[in-house]
C-alpha cells in the first residue's frame, strides 16, 4: 500500500522530478531533431539575421573576430566529414558504390551548373552590375543535406535519393574546384606544395602501419595540409580533403547523412566528429548569415533566379537530352518525380554561403549575394509544393487513397 502510494507520488505529472525528466527527454528529442537534420546551421543563421538587424555594430564586431577560425579552420572538419561520407558511400557495399548510377546524375549536374550560371550571369548583365559577375560560383552550390531531407520527406526510399546526392556531390565538387584557388589571400609561398607532399606521405605511412585512430591523421597530417593549402593560396577549408581517403573507413549502407552507430572504433570517431561538425555549422551560420536585410540588391535576385529557375531548368534539359541520347532514367523515377528532384536541388544555403565568403570580399556585394543564398532555402518549399501539385510520393499515396487508385509506391528494401 505504501509502495503503491510512493509509485503514485513519483508518477504524478506535477512532480518536480517527473517534470525535469520530461523536460530533459523533450530537450533531447529536440536536440536530436536539430542535430540529425543538420538544422543547427539554419538555427545559427536565424540568430545571426536577428542579431545583425537589431544590433549590427556588435554583430559585425563579433563576426570580424571569429570569422577566420570558423571559416578557414572549423569548416575544414565539415568538408572532411562530407568527403569521409562520400568515400564510405562509394566503397563496396556502400550506397553510392555502383558507378553505373553516376552517368545520368553527372549529366544532370552539368546541366544544372550551366543553367544556374547562365541565369546568374544573364541577370547580372541585364541589371548592368557586372561587378557581381565574380559571384557566379555561388550559383553552383547545392545544399545536399537540404535536398536529401526534402526528398526523403517526399520520396522515401526511392531512387531519387541517391540521384540527388550524386547531383549535389558532382556540382559541389566542381564548385570547390573553382573556389579553392580563388581564395582571397595576401601572398602565397612556394613551400606549400612541398608541405602538401609531406602531409599526404605521412598519412600514407600512418595508414600502412595500421593506425586506426582519427586524431593523428587530423592533428598531424591535417595541420601540415592546412598550412600547405594556406600558403599555396588555396582555401584551407579544403585542407583535410586529400587526407580523408587515408583514414580508416567502414562502408555506409544506411543514409549518407545519418550519424553512424557507435559500434566500433571507426564509427565512434565518426560520431564524435559529427558532433564537432554540428557545432561548427552552428557557428558558421552565426558568423556568415547575418546580413542587414535592406542590403538586398541585384546580387540577391541573381542568386535566387539561378537557383530556383536556372538549375532546375538545366537539370531537366540535360536529363532530357541524355535520355534522347540513350541513357535511362533510374528505376521508379519518372519525369514528374524528376521535376521534384530538380526543385529539391535548388537550395544552396550552406554551400552557397561558404562559396560566397570564399569568392566575394566583405562589402555590400557579399551582403547581396548572402541574402540570395539564404533565400534559396525556399527551394525546399517549392519542391514540396510541386510534389503536392503533381501527386508525387507521399502526396500520391494520399490522393490514391482518396481516389481509390494506386499511385507511386516507394521501392522497398
Amino acid at each position: 500500500m505504501r509502495h503503491q502510494a510512493a509509485a503514485q507520488h513519483v508518477e504524478h505529472p506535477l512532480n518536480f522530478h517527473v517534470q525535469r525528466r520530461w523536460a530533459a527527454r523533450l530537450g533531447h528529442r529536440w536536440y536530436r531533431h536539430l542535430f540529425d537534420r543538420f538544422l543547427l546551421l539554419p538555427l545559427g543563421a536565424a540568430i545571426a539575421l536577428i542579431w545583425a538587424n537589431s544590433a549590427p555594430e556588435s554583430y559585425f564586431s563579433f563576426t570580424q573576430r571569429i570569422s577566420f577560425p570558423v571559416n578557414e579552420i572549423g569548416m575544414a572538419f565539415f568538408f572532411a566529414l562530407m568527403t569521409q561520407e562520400v568515400v564510405e558511400a562509394a566503397m563496396p557495399g556502400g550506397a553510392l558504390h555502383s558507378w553505373r548510377r553516376w552517368g545520368l546524375p553527372i549529366v544532370a549536374a552539368a546541366g544544372g551548373i550551366i543553367g544556374s550560371v547562365s541565369v546568374y550571369l544573364a541577370f547580372v548583365n541585364a541589371s548592368y552590375q557586372s561587378v557581381l559577375s565574380l559571384g557566379w560560383p555561388v550559383a553552383c552550390a547545392i545544399d545536399v543535406a537540404a535536398a536529401y531531407y526534402v526528398l526523403k520527406a517526399i520520396l522515401p526510399r526511392s531512387g531519387a535519393l541517391p540521384f540527388v546526392l550524386l547531383i549535389g556531390i558532382a556540382t559541389n565538387a566542381f564548385g570547390m574546384f573553382v573556389v579553392a584557388p580563388r581564395h582571397l589571400v595576401l601572398a602565397t609561398h612556394v613551400g606549400g606544395a612541398v608541405l602538401m607532399l609531406i602531409a599526404i606521405g605521412l598519412a600514407g605511412v600512418m595508414r600502412a602501419i595500421g593506425i586506426r585512430a582519427f586524431v593523428p591523421y587530423l592533428a598531424i597530417c591535417g595541420t601540415i595540409s592546412w598550412f600547405a593549402f594556406f600558403w599555396s593560396g588555396l582555401h584551407p577549408a579544403f585542407a583535410l580533403v586529400p587526407i580523408v581517403p587515408f583514414l580508416p573507413h567502414e562502408p555506409r549502407r544506411l543514409d549518407l547523412f545519418a550519424d553512424p552507430p557507435d559500434d566500433d572504433a571507426t564509427h565512434h570517431f565518426e560520431h564524435e566528429w559529427n558532433v564537432l561538425v554540428q557545432g561548427i555549422l552552428f557557428l558558421f551560420g552565426l558568423v556568415n548569415a547575418g546580413v542587414m536585410l535592406r542590403g538586398y540588391g541585384a546580387g540577391s535576385s541573381a542568386v535566387l533566379a539561378a537557383a530556383l529557375v536556372g538549375r532546375p531548368a538545366g537539370i531537366l534539359a540535360a536529363v532530357g537530352l541524355a535520355v534522347l541520347a540513350g541513357l535511362h532514367l533510374p528505376r521508379r523515377l519518372g519525369w514528374r518525380e524528376l521535376v521534384v528532384v530538380a526543385l529539391a536541388s535548388s537550395s544552396g544555403f550552406t554551400i552557397a554561403l561558404f562559396f560566397a565568403t570564399a569568392v566575394v570580399a566583405i562589402g555590400p556585394l557579399l551582403a547581396q549575394i548572402t541574402i540570395g543564398a539564404l533565400a534559396t532555402g525556399v527551394g525546399a518549399l517549392l519542391a514540396l509544393g510541386a510534389a503536392r501539385l503533381l501527386h508525387i510520393g507521399r502526396f500520391a499515396r494520399r490522393s490514391a487513397e482518396k481516389e481509390g487508385v494506386h499511385g507511386f509506391q516507394p521501392e522497398s528494401r
Binding site: E57, F60, S130, M292, R294, G297, A361, G363, P364, L365
Partner: protein
C-alpha cells in the same frame, strides 16, 4: 517706420548671412587646394547635364582643379558611346579647362572603367594621390578584401600629409531610407580612419546630400545626388548635421592650411549647406 524697416533689413542680412547651412563659406585663397565632389552621376539625363553646367559656372568664381567622383560614375550600358554621353559631354566645359576627374568605383560601375583614362585610376580599383598638403585615398567599397585593407593601412601609415581624405561609394554613416549606413564596412574601416587620423570621408550610393556630425573625430559626407536623386529619402537622426534631398546636388571644397571649407549646392545653384572643418589632432602626425 523707415528706421524699423532698415533695422529689419539689417537683421535679415546679418543673421541670414551666418545662419547654418546658408553661409557662403569658400574664401578662395590663391594658394589653397580647391576641388569638387560628385556622386552617382552617370545616368546621362538632363539633370546630370544641368549639374555639369552648374559646376562649370561655379568654377568661374571658384577655380577648382580636380573633381572627386564617389562612384556609380556610369549607369546602365557602359560602352564607348556611354562614356561620351554620361561623362564627357556633361562635364565638357570642365574637361576642356583641364580639370582632372578622380573616380572611385560604385556598384553600377563596370570594373573595367578603372582603365578609362578620364577617371585617372590607372587600371587600379583603389589608389592614392596627393595635392598640396592633402592625401587622397580612393577606395573600392564593393570588395573590401584583405589586400585592400593592408594597402589602406600601409598608405595611411606612410602618409605625412596634413590632411587625409578618403572617398568611396558606400557610406559607413548615412541616414537615408533606401540604403543607409553600411555597418559591416564601418566595423572594418573606422578603426583605420581613427588610428591614422583621417580627417574627412566622402561617400555616395544614397542619392541625397547629408553631412554627419563628426564620428570619433572624423567628418563624414554623403554626396550621391549629382545625377540620381532619391527625393525625401533622408530620415534625419541625432547623427545628422545637415541634409538636402529635394534636388540634385554637388559639393565645392577648399583646403587652406588647417581649414577645410565646404559648400553644398543644388542643381539650381542654391547653397544648401556650408561650413568649416578644422583639422583635428591626429595620432599619426601629432600635429594640429
Amino acid at each position: 517706420m523707415r528706421r524699423l524697416g532698415l533695422a529689419l533689413l539689417l537683421w535679415i542680412v546679418v543673421v541670414g548671412g551666418v545662419a547654418p547651412g546658408t553661409q557662403e563659406a569658400l574664401p578662395g585663397r590663391p594658394d589653397s587646394l580647391k576641388f569638387a565632389a560628385i556622386g552617382d552621376t552617370g545616368n546621362g539625363r538632363r539633370e546630370q547635364y544641368e549639374v555639369g553646367e552648374q559646376l562649370a559656372s561655379a568654377r568661374a568664381a571658384f577655380p577648382f582643379e580636380l573633381v572627386i567622383m564617389l562612384g556609380d560614375n556610369l549607369y546602365g550600358r557602359q560602352q564607348q558611346q556611354d562614356y561620351v554621353t554620361k561623362f564627357e559631354r556633361p562635364y565638357a566645359a570642365l574637361l576642356s579647362a583641364g580639370v582632372g576627374f578622380y573616380a572611385s568605383l560604385g556598384n553600377h560601375d563596370n570594373p573595367a572603367n578603372a582603365r578609362y583614362a578620364g577617371f585617372h585610376m590607372s587600371g587600379a580599383r583603389y589608389y592614392t594621390y596627393a595635392r598640396n598638403n592633402v592625401r587622397f585615398l580612393a577606395l573600392d567599397s564593393n570588395l573590401m578584401d584583405p589586400a585592400q585593407l593592408a594597402w589602406i593601412d600601409e598608405t595611411l601609415k606612410q602618409s605625412k600629409d596634413d590632411w587625409k581624405i578618403c572617398y568611396f561609394h558606400h557610406p559607413i554613416y548615412s541616414n537615408s531610407g533606401r540604403h543607409g549606413s553600411n555597418v559591416q564596412l564601418r566595423v572594418i574601416l573606422e578603426p583605420l580612419f581613427v588610428k591614422y587620423g583621417v580627417n574627412v570621408v566622402f561617400s555616395g550610393h544614397d542619392h541625397v546630400y547629408e553631412r554627419l556630425k563628426p564620428q570619433k573625430g572624423v567628418a563624414y559626407f554623403v554626396s550621391g545626388a549629382a545625377g540620381e536623386l532619391a527625393k525625401g529619402d533622408v530620415k534625419p537622426s541625432a547623427e545628422t548635421a545637415a541634409y538636402f534631398d529635394q534636388d540634385q546636388s554637388f559639393m565645392l571644397l577648399e583646403v587652406a592650411g588647417d581649414d577645410l571649407f565646404f559648400k553644398a549646392m543644388s542643381r539650381t545653384g542654391r547653397t544648401v549647406d556650408s561650413g568649416l572643418i578644422r583639422r583635428q589632432l591626429t595620432k599619426a602626425t601629432g600635429t594640429l
